[in-house]
Structures are given as structure tokens and as C-alpha cells.
């Protein structure tokens, strides 16, 4: 599929899917690839053009599939390899690209490589992992999963040594100082790219290489590994994409793009956090600050922006004061907090407020970067904070108000995760079928939003120029791409606002509101006066005639 525009990912509108909980075709309570294939029409109608799948490899599922036991296969509960390739072909036939996971940093401790490595110190696989006689190497390196881990070293009783793990203790880190590891991971990429996968979302990138006396994050050797893999990918599979998961401030994420020779894309974590902050503070400051601090990327690179995903809403890269504010505003119940983050979906975070949900999605679709929609957020699904770990935001997709929300014909007790069933966010109240029948549902609104977003390349490829109106509750900016310009105005507050914008540099242009095609008075040299309803936003295409 990836023939065509090599920069296709810049125009991507990505939909993140947890195959396990999307649609179950065989009634075993677990979503599968056949089920996903049957829902491609829905995804096409939504308007997205790229699908990102959470891991579907064989795994003991102690980290919901991110602990991989076999890189070259599909877990039988998701179907066969043939099911996967059939899904891939069907997606490509609809113009949908597919991005899969590539967990480079670690494997499951059940992976044959680790089993071989631990069974003998002379095993050729021994050096595939990071071993130590003591647990005081790399002292001071932070622990990521604070709620469950107390150390980055775990004692292996079989081989009587410690092994390094930045995540769960059952996820030993691979040793990238061993060239064989790098070669093997390239073979993994080759395998999946050869099947037709259009890109890889690379998990936990900063932690590939460790060095004494450092934070063990973002080492120069890590970048060498990435450059090698990127070069191989470009040489053998041009047009494929690498997306980095590097939860850092933007200045520290910038190196992962290299000179356009490392990752094509990377998540913009801090932007996401500040969107939530800004809307709660009713102040554009946090957003404008992070936009100004976001470095310029090489021409072939792109940020990936998102509101929510399968993990907790991370608060790792904010100040303690900001973290406290976010906990107070969004997770007053401590059960919602996990690992320096908040494990809630978009709708519950925004109190189910339709206006705020629309505004946040409007920001997502109009700020620079390729937007990612987390499955279920397009209908405003809720969450279950009482499920362990982050499983509360990974509950089954709610297709209808019927049996198991239309997700599966299995017994409800058999489901991988229980359906959300409370009267507010339960499947009876929030589901695709009901929203497809309602013209002004959130689902139909999201479809219109994505359609307008994709009607122009201004949003996906344009520059951004922030405006600075006196009204701090209003965030306004101009996106420009070639000859096209769009003025975006957002009311971050829950009350009606008036704002005067200095648009003198755009004098002569006629604003045309993009959702309703309504004309607005021509921009002159005087301040341009607008009023906005609570949490309203406008996208104006600027015409010159």
C-alpha cells in the first residue's frame, strides 16, 4: 500500500485499535482480526486513513501484549497469520494504512530467547540481555512503573544473576550493545514489512542502551541503532514509517528525528497534557508555551498528536505543581491515578461535556501534527478505573445496546474485560448503532470534523503562527500551507467570550467558516471582533477574491 506519496504519514488521521477489545467474530470473548476486518467499513466511514494496532504477538499477557514471546507470529486468540494478512489486504483496498507495534526494548521473560539466555551463561543468547552480578549498576536511573516496581534490576533464580528491566520485572531489556540483537530486530521488521505493514510504532525507544553514570535514556548509541534500522527500512521498504514513543519534553524528543534519518514521527506527549491543562485553567498559556517550545522538525518529519491512548495520561514530564493541579482537577479519586498518570478515557476526564469533548477534538485536529483518535473516543466511551493496571481504558468497543454491547456473542463473564455498563457511559447509552441513527451524535460530528480536517493540507502540513489577543481564554492561530491559510479561534472557557484579534497582516482576506461555509466580514486593518459560545471554536478558511 505504501507506494505513492512517501510523506503519507503527514496527512494521516490515525485510529488506535486494541484488537483484543474491538470486535469478536468467533464468540470467545476476545476481539480478533476477522472481527476487525468486518469493521473496516465503519472505520472508512469515520474518515480515518491509518490504523495503529496494539500488539497482537504471542504473549503471556502480563502487560496486555507488550510482553512479547514470539515476534514472528500472531497470538491464536486473535486469529491466524492468514487472518492478519487478509485484514491487511482488506484495509489497503479501502485506502487504510496499517501501523503495528514494534517492541524493541524488551521481551517477555517467557520468550525463548530469554529462556535460553537464563538457562546457561554460555548460551549464545546470554548476551542478548543485560546481566549483572549486582543491582547497583546504573545507579540512580528512574523507575518508570513506580506503582509496581522497586528496582530496574530483577534477580533471576535460574542463572543466579540480575537482569535489567526498565518496565515490568517480567520484561527483561534486550542488550543493543550486541549486534546480533540489532540484526534480529531488523529481521523482525523485515518480516512484517514484507507482509505489507505500512509502519511501526516503536515502543519505549529512549531506553534501548544503558551507560554507567547516565540516565540511560536517549544515549548516542540508541540513536545509532535507530539510524541503522531506519536505513535498512528505507533501503528495502521505501515509504514505510517509524513512529517513536519517547515520553520526553519536545527538545529532548527532537534528537529522535535526527537529520531526517531516524524516526519519521514521534508522539508529542507534553502537548497532550497541556491541552487538558489549558481547558481546565481556561487559559491558553500552557498551550502557547509548549507550541513555542516545540522545535522545528526536518521537512520529512511529523509530530503525532493525541488526546488519549491505551496508557495512563502521563504526567511524567510536568512540574510537581502541574501534576498536583491535574490530579486535583482530573483524578480527585486516587484510584484513577497510576504511575504518575491518570488512567481515564477522554469523555470521563471531561465530565461527559459534549462541548469540551468537541473543543478538545477540534484542537487535536487543528494543531500541527498527525492526530490520533483512540478507539471508542469517537463515541465518547467511558472507562472502568477498577480494572487493574490500565485495562480500564481498554474495555470492549460498544457497538450497540444489545448483548455485550454488540462486541461479542460470548457469555458476558467470558469477556477479556467487562463491558462498561453504568447508565451514563454504559453500552446501552453510548454505542455506535444509536449514534449512527442520530444526526447530531458525537460520532457523526467526529465524522464531519475529520472530513473537514482532511479537506485541506493546511492542518497536516502547514506552519503555525500564534496570535496574542488580550483575552487569555481565547487561543487563536493561523495555519499556512503554500497559498492556503486557515484562521483557528478556540474559546477555552465555559462561558461566552468576546475577542478582538489583530489580523492586520491578513487584511483583505474573507473568512469562510469551514463547517457551514458561512461568510464573515472581510478582514481590515482594524482589530477583528468575534464572539464565541462556551467552548466554541471556529475554523476560517481565508479567501482572497
Amino acid at each position: 500500500m505504501s507506494a505513492g506519496d512517501p510523506l503519507w504519514y503527514k496527512d494521516a488521521v490515525i485510529y488506535q485499535i486494541h484488537v483484543k477489545t474491538f470486535f469478536d467474530s468467533d464468540g470467545d470473548g476476545v476481539g480478533d482480526f476477522k472481527g476487525l476486518s468486518s469493521k473496516l467499513d465503519y472505520l472508512e466511514a469515520l474518515g480515518v486513513n491509518t490504523l495503529w494496532l496494539l500488539p497482537t504477538f504471542p504473549s503471556p499477557f502480563r502487560d496486555d501484549g507488550y510482553d512479547i514471546a514470539d515476534y514472528y507470529s500472531i497470538h491464536p486468540m486473535y486469529g491466524t497469520m492468514e487472518d492478519f494478512t487478509s485484514f491487511l489486504g482488506a484495509a489497503h483496498a479501502r485506502g487504510l494504512r496499517v501501523v503495528t507495534e514494534l517492541v524493541l526494548n524488551h521481551t517477555s521473560d517467557k520468550h525463548p530467547w530469554f529462556q535460553e539466555a537464563r538457562n546457561s551463561r554460555d548460551s549464545p543468547r546470554r548476551d542478548w540481555y543485560v546481566w549483572s552480578d549486582t543491582d547497583d549498576r546504573y545507579r540512580g536511573v528512574r523507575i518508570i512503573f513506580l506503582d509496581t516496581e522497586t528496582s530496574n534490576w530483577a534477580w533471576d533464580p535460574v542463572s543466579k544473576q540480575y537482569y535489567w528491566h526498565r518496565f515490568f520485572s517480567h520484561q527483561p531489556d534486550l542488550n543493543y550493545d550486541n549486534p546480533a540483537v540489532r540484526e534480529e530486530m531488523w529481521r523482525v521488521m523485515q518480516f512484517w514489512a514484507g507482509l505489507g505493514v505500512d509502519g511501526f510504532r516503536v515502543d519505549a525507544v529512549p531506553y534501548l542502551v544503558e551507560r554507567e553514570g547516565t540516565t540511560c535514556e536517549g544515549m548516542p548509541e540508541t540513536h545509532e541503532v535507530i539510524r541503522y534500522l531506519r536505513a535498512q527500512l528505507d533501503a528495502h521498504f521505501p515509504g514505510r514509517m517509524l513512529l517513536a514513543e519517547a515520553n520526553q519534553v519536545p527538545e529532548l524528543v527532537r534528537p529522535y528525528f535526527g537529520d531526517g534519518d531516524e524516526f519519521h514521527m514521534a508522539f508529542h506527549f507534553p502537548l497532550m497534557t497541556r491541552m487538558f491543562m489549558a481547558i481546565r485553567l481556561e487559559d491558553r498559556g500552557p498551550l502557547t508555551d509548549i507550541v513555542r517550545r516545540t522545535p522545528i522538525l526536518p521537512d520529512t518529519c511529523q509530530w503525532a498528536v493525541f488526546l488519549r491512548n491505551h496508557d495512563e495520561l502521563t504526567l511524567e514530564m510536568v512540574t510537581p505543581e502541574e501534576r498536583e493541579f491535574m490530579y486535583d482537577e482530573y483524578a480527585s479519586d486516587p484510584v484513577a491515578r497510576l504511575n504518575l498518570g491518570i488512567r481515564r478515557r477522554l469523555a470521563p476526564l471531561l465530565d461527559g461535556d459534549r462541548r469540551r469533548i468537541e473543543l478538545m477534538n477540534g484542537l487535536l485536529m487543528s494543531l500541527p501534527g498527525s492526530p490520533i483518535v483512540y478507539y471508542g473516543d469517537e463515541i465518547g466511551m467511558g472507562d472502568n478505573v477498577y480494572l487493574g493496571d490500565r485495562n480500564g481504558v481498554r474495555t470492549p468497543m460498544q457497538w450497540s445496546g444489545g448483548w455485550n454491547g454488540g462486541f461479542s456473542s460470548a457469555d458476558p463473564e467470558q469477556l477479556a474485560f467487562a463491558m462498561i455498563s453504568n447508565p451514563v457511559y454504559g453500552y446501552q447509552a453510548v454505542n455506535v448503532l444509536a449514534q449512527e441513527r442520530t444526526h447530531h451524535s458525537l460520532l457523526n460530528w467526529m465524522r464531519r470534523l475529520i472530513r473537514v480536517r482532511r479537506s485541506t493540507r493546511v492542518f497536516s502540513r502547514g506552519t503555525i503562527a500564534l496570535l496574542d489577543p488580550p483575552n487569555q481564554r481565547v487561543l487563536a492561530y493561523v495555519r499556512t500551507f503554500e497559498k492556503e491559510q486557515v484562521l483557528v479561534v478556540n474559546n477555552l472557557s465555559g462561558t461566552v467570550q468576546a475577542v478582538e484579534l489583530d489580523l492586520s497582516s491578513l487584511a483583505g482576506a474573507i473568512p469562510v467558516e469551514m463547517f457551514g461555509q458561512s461568510l464573515f466580514p472581510r478582514i481590515g486593518s482594524q482589530p477583528y471582533f468575534l464572539t464565541l459560545g462556551p467552548h466554541a471554536f471556529y475554523w476560517f478558511r481565508l479567501r482572497r477574491l
Binding site: 483583505g508 461555509q517 461568510l519 466580514p521 472581510r522 477574491l545
Partner: protein, 419 residues
């Protein structure tokens, strides 16, 4: 995009208040006080009767009338029209009249109409000629419906023509456009037409043929649509009766304008038509009423007689333009009694003139003016043969002429590429 002065502040205020429309009827005017009121009434009645739920606007671009045309457009009512169906529309059809100050001519007026249509996101746009007295409300339906139903991007008109009517179209422009562009459009000069928003946006992106087609904008639009993959259609309208308020230009001027437009379009779209294959039919919407006899049959005997003289007199000039066989054919045809100017010879003549125009073997105006007597001779020949024939016979004769042009095209295209 056009420059910023295309829309005055006053016009823009009116457009802001109007907002998005579904149908826009555009009428370019210049001193059409005697005829424009009926046109506006027909448009209004058509919109009310056939598109009662659509948001619509009648937009008049006036290039400086001094006979009160804009006021008449604005104030025309449908209440006292006995002949036009008076239905009470659900929506108010807005009317906007505005002057435009660009290069005089229909081209500038249409450009403004298109710009406004694009700004208002009109789904369907209709252009009417203010001089036409035979406009009916059904014309609006015929031109708009195929566009609104997604069947066509450009809907050309189909007029009921008698054999003697419009030989410049039937003998020259129509078969030439058919052969060159590969579409059987009956009225490529399109006095009235309908089009889609997509087509309007495309035309606005072009330089609007600035300096190329000030008066040939209709033909330019036909060419743009056919050459750029827009879906053509034809709507049966009926007879087209005109009442000019001012003296219309003489035949030499008209002929010059038409030929300049044709030749310019062929230059512009050479990349398309040079490799285009046989002509395809264009979908027709509706059925035409019978042709209207417009008056006593003209006496073409004088035209036929002067043809031989003209050919003889112009022989030295024709020798520079036509190939030897064609010149010999024309000379021989001029000597026939009654005059017979065969289809194949006429097709060869026209294409060779086009090539001469393209190569600029002499001043281009001289090339087109030299063709005029030959055109009159061909017209006389056709009318002598078919002036009294029935519609079916005339139709077959024109079809045969079209085929002759198609057969002559490949050789002409080959020579065009060499030039």
C-alpha cells in the same frame, strides 16, 4: 485567485448576509432594459416552482448600464405575470445586483459571477443571457437538475434550430469541437448553461484566459470542461429568440470573434485534443420541441453566385493557406451549379485554415477573414441542399458533416504537431 478588488465592500456585506446558497442564477448585463425583466421573472418562477426548498439567489453583474437595467433586475416582480406559473416559494429568492469594473465583455462578468458562486458555496450555477426573450422557468430546471443530481458538471443547452438557423455553429463550430475535443456537444458556444461548484472552482484557478478570451468565454468554458475530465451534459431548452437592445455586430466582426475564440481554445487545449479519439455522445436531458421557423427562407442564390467570384479573387491568398489539392477542390466546387461544397472538402478547408492560424503564415486576422467567404459558400451549399428538408434529413446531413470532420482530424493533428 482574482485580485482583491473583485468584490467591493458593499457586495461583500450583501454576500455575508446571504450566506450559503444551493442555486445561483447569474445574469451578466449591459443595457438590457427591454428584455432583462422577463429573464429575471422566468428565473425567479423557475426557482420557485422547481426548487422551492433550495436557497437561491439571482446575481446580476452589470458592466455599467445607463438604461436602468440594474434597477429593473432588482425590482422585477412575478406577481403580475400571467404567463409564468406563480407559485408561492417556501424560501425567499435573494437578488443581488452589482456593477463590475473590469475589462468589458462577458468574460469579466462571468468571472465575477463564478467568484461569488464559489464564495457562497453554491452547488449549482446557471448563467442566462439577458437578451433572450424565450427563457422559460423550465430552462432553470433543465440546466440545474443534472448538476444537483450529480450527473453533470457542465450542462450545455440544446436549442431547437431550423435548418437555416445558426450555420456558424452547425457548419463550423459544432463539427470542429466534436472532432477536436471528441464530444458531441451541440452548442459549444453555450448562450446559457449550468455548471457545478467543482467546475467553477477549476475555472477560477485558471488565469481566466486573461487577454485570450474576452468574448469567447463560453467556448473557453466548454473547452475547459471537456479537456479536464468534467462530465458534460446537454439540456433541451427549446428555441432561442433574441432581441438585441443595441445594434449587434456585423458578420465579419462576429466571425472574427468566434474564430479567434475557437483558435485560441485549440491552442490552449492542444495537449488534450491532439491525442483525443473518436467523439463520444453527450448525455441529453429532456426532449426538444420542434424547430421554429424564424422567418422567410433567405435567398442563398446570391451567396452561391458570389462564392465563385470570391474564390477567384482570393486565389493568391488561398494558395498561401490551403494545400494544392484542397485549393483545387475549392476552386472546382466554386464552379459547380448548383453550388456543392462537399463535407470532406469543407472539413479539410477548416482544418487547413486552423493550421495556417496556428503557424501564423500571415496576420491571423487575415487568415480568419479569408475563411469568411468560404464559410458563406459552404452555408449556401448546405442551404441549397437542405434548406427545405425535414428535421430528420437535416439531422443526418449534420451528422455526416460531423463524421467528415472527425475523419479529417488525424491528419490535421499530425501536421499541427509538426508545426
Amino acid at each position: 485567485m482574482a485580485d482583491e478588488s473583485l468584490l467591493s465592500d458593499d457586495l461583500l456585506r450583501q454576500l455575508v448576509a446571504l450566506g450559503h446558497v444551493d442555486v445561483l442564477v447569474g445574469i451578466p448585463t449591459l443595457n438590457n432594459a427591454t428584455t432583462v425583466v422577463d429573464v429575471v421573472r422566468a428565473a425567479q418562477a423557475g426557482l420557485g416552482k422547481y426548487f422551492p426548498r433550495a436557497r437561491s439567489v439571482i446575481f446580476n453583474a452589470d458592466s455599467g448600464s445607463d438604461d436602468g437595467t440594474p434597477v429593473l433586475v432588482r425590482d422585477a416582480t412575478t406577481d403580475d405575470t400571467g404567463t409564468v406559473t406563480a407559485s408561492r416559494p417556501l424560501r425567499t429568492t435573494q437578488r443581488i445586483t452589482t456593477p463590475y469594473h473590469g475589462l468589458p465583455g462577458k468574460g469579466s462578468a462571468m468571472r465575477m459571477i463564478f467568484a461569488v458562486a464559489d464564495l457562497l458555496s453554491a452547488d449549482a450555477i446557471v448563467a442566462l443571457d439577458p437578451d433572450v426573450t424565450s427563457v422559460t422557468p423550465e430552462w432553470i430546471s433543465a440546466l440545474v437538475r443534472p448538476v444537483r443530481e450529480g450527473q453533470a458538471d457542465l450542462v450545455a443547452p440544446l436549442y431547437s434550430r431550423a435548418a437555416v438557423d445558426g450555420p456558424l455553429v452547425t457548419q463550423l463550430v459544432r463539427p470542429l469541437v466534436r472532432a477536436a475535443y471528441g464530444w458531441r456537444v451541440q452548442e459549444p458556444l453555450m448562450g446559457e448553461f449550468g455548471c457545478s461548484r467543482r467546475f467553477v472552482a477549476h475555472c477560477l484557478e485558471r488565469s481566466w484566459g486573461t487577454g485570450v478570451i474576452p468574448d469567447g468565454v463560453d467556448l473557453w468554458m466548454s473547452g475547459e470542461a471537456l479537456a479536464n475530465g468534467f462530465r458534460p451534459g446537454q439540456a433541451a431548452l427549446g428555441p432561442r429568440l433574441l432581441a438585441h437592445a443595441r445594434k449587434p455586430p456585423g458578420l465579419p466582426d462576429v466571425f472574427q470573434q468566434v474564430m479567434d475564440a475557437v483558435c485560441s481554445c485549440l491552442e490552449l487545449h492542444a495537449g488534450y485534443w491532439l491525442s483525443r479519439g473518436p467523439a463520444e455522445p453527450v448525455p441529453c436531458y429532456g426532449t426538444l420541441p420542434g424547430a421554429v421557423e424564424l422567418g422567410p427562407r433567405p435567398d442563398v442564390t446570391r451567396m452561391a453566385e458570389s462564392f465563385a467570384r470570391d474564390v477567384s479573387a482570393l486565389n493568391p491568398v488561398l494558395a498561401t493557406i490551403l494545400s494544392a489539392p484542397t485549393l483545387a477542390g475549392v476552386t472546382a466546387a466554386a464552379a459547380t451549379r448548383p453550388l456543392v461544397y462537399p463535407d470532406e472538402l469543407w472539413a479539410a478547408t477548416v482544418f487547413e485554415f486552423l493550421l495556417a492560424y496556428h503557424r501564423a503564415v500571415m496576420t491571423r486576422e487575415h487568415v480568419t477573414q479569408t475563411l469568411l467567404p468560404l464559410y458563406l459558400g459552404r452555408t449556401a451549399s448546405f442551404l441549397l441542399q437542405h434548406g427545405s428538408s425535414g428535421p430528420a434529413v437535416v439531422h443526418d446531413a449534420l451528422e455526416s458533416l460531423g463524421l467528415a470532420f472527425e475523419q479529417a482530424k488525424p491528419q490535421a493533428a499530425a501536421q499541427w504537431k509538426k508545426a
